[in-house]
Subunit: 159 residues, 4 copies
């Protein structure tokens, strides 16, 4: 934390234990010439699920217990243009019995300019929708990427 | 507010001064058979911009000052399937000099089952990216939809 | 057919036995300020599946035999902007044992300006991927929308 | 060509002078568990525009003359799942004065299984929409990737 401003110190890509490259598609860019806001959630979702697939070989469509999104959020900091390369920084924050919070960021370009911070909660459920404990092999993977990292908070609307 | 739990009382579609119909596209549904989480942000975005277009005739691509997304969030409450009709509930919460917070929800089906709550901040900027006051005709529209409504807050991760 | 040019006479919305409204989402519009080309396929797909759902109550996720896209095509004729209302015109062309060809179009705005012509082949397959006959209740629906209508053909590249 | 069947011999990834990696996003997969058909067009579009950006540094948003999609098509041959890596094969077919035809394919997985064949026509237009000659630096790039390659044709509907 920065004592003067009360804001979390600037998170950089090196602060995230997992980094996953993402692409900007032509269709991702909206009429303002920058990547549309909803695309960042597609990136975060793909980063989390792709990392889990690599770590535990989870094939979600066949799993008895799946992680569904309980809540998500994104704070946008700089625009991303077509032709830029993206890295998603992924860290695991709080781990509960049946849910986990991811702390995410999107970095753009060769200098890893921070474009956005993200927040993501997966809740594990049975196929009938009832809440279930996090599967043990997933819990192991989550712990391996858990760090003490400032979570995203909503900014006060002050300007 | 519910005095026992501290949670906002259940918001219903009638609590939102603006309601905008949205469609579920075939491609919106992911491998779990429900609408993908990122689609809700496309709905919220379209509801806000469509409403502004109706209210003030804003043609964003030609405007000198545009509203860009500063932050967004969504809390997911029930799944939405293909074939369901969606209504986005839109209310304006806090209005600042250069930014505005929308309080949103997605309702599904003929009984307007609440599927998600949303949060959205537009920051008004010049084309060069510098922050600008909310254009006056937009401010008038915003005030017309401003209500005292509980904003979305992140749930504590406790389970 | 137009005898002079050899081109099919101009198809209008009234030539299609089924018309289905579609929305333009904010995120559909790309950096050129018009609806991105891939979105038209989302519209066609939703029109076909939504119509089948209405006609035969097909719940694709639970069906033993499903229609998968064998081929698709689109010829773009005029740009579509944010704020325009879309009608998809749908007709059934050739019906085979296991596949069906749809003849489609997208119309935009209050005067139903033709924006695109489409072509779509669904092949019916078992869940293991083997080709299967069109289910009988679907075949009945298809016949009800079958008309003698000029199919989409690729234009000669001559300019 | 295969003299017996009259069908183009099986195109492999090595037949395409340009190959561009693409990602499968979580949200690309639809309720059937495979990549949705419209996503292939996002891939083709990104492959073409990304290749042009690399070759000629074209910044489309600032260009006086832009390539808009005149027609597109895709023939689907095998399903693509989440977790597979994609390569788009790109070749230039016919080059006209104002338009160009791309011959494309999508290959999936480590063995470059052919998933789809594509067809794409870009028409060059002024900002007011009037047809314009292909800019000379783009024409040079196009010629560098032009090969004698069988174009996509629609299959006869015979089964």
């Amino acid at each position: 934390m920065n004592a003067t401003t009360g804001k979390p110190a600037g998170l950089r890509i090196a602060d995230y234990p997992v980094r996953i490259p993402m692409q900007v598609r032509w269709s991702d860019v909206d009429m303002y010439g920058h990547v549309n806001n909803a695309v960042y959630y597609q990136w975060f979702d793909s980063a989390i699920n792709g990392w889990l697939l690599d770590e535990v070989g989870a094939v979600p469509r066949e799993a008895d217990v799946i992680g569904v999104v309980g809540e998500s959020a994104c704070s946008y900091e700089s625009e991303v243009g077509y032709g830029e390369e993206i890295s998603i920084g992924l860290a695991v924050g709080a781990i509960g019995t049946s849910s986990v919070t991811y702390v995410l960021a999107a970095f753009a370009g060769s200098e890893a300019r921070r474009a956005a911070l993200g927040h993501w909660v997966h809740v594990y459920v049975e196929r009938d929708g009832s809440v279930a404990p996090i599967p043990s092999e997933i819990a192991v993977a989550l712990k391996s990427a858990q760090v003490d990292i400032a979570p995203l908070t909503f900014r006060k609307l002050s300007r």
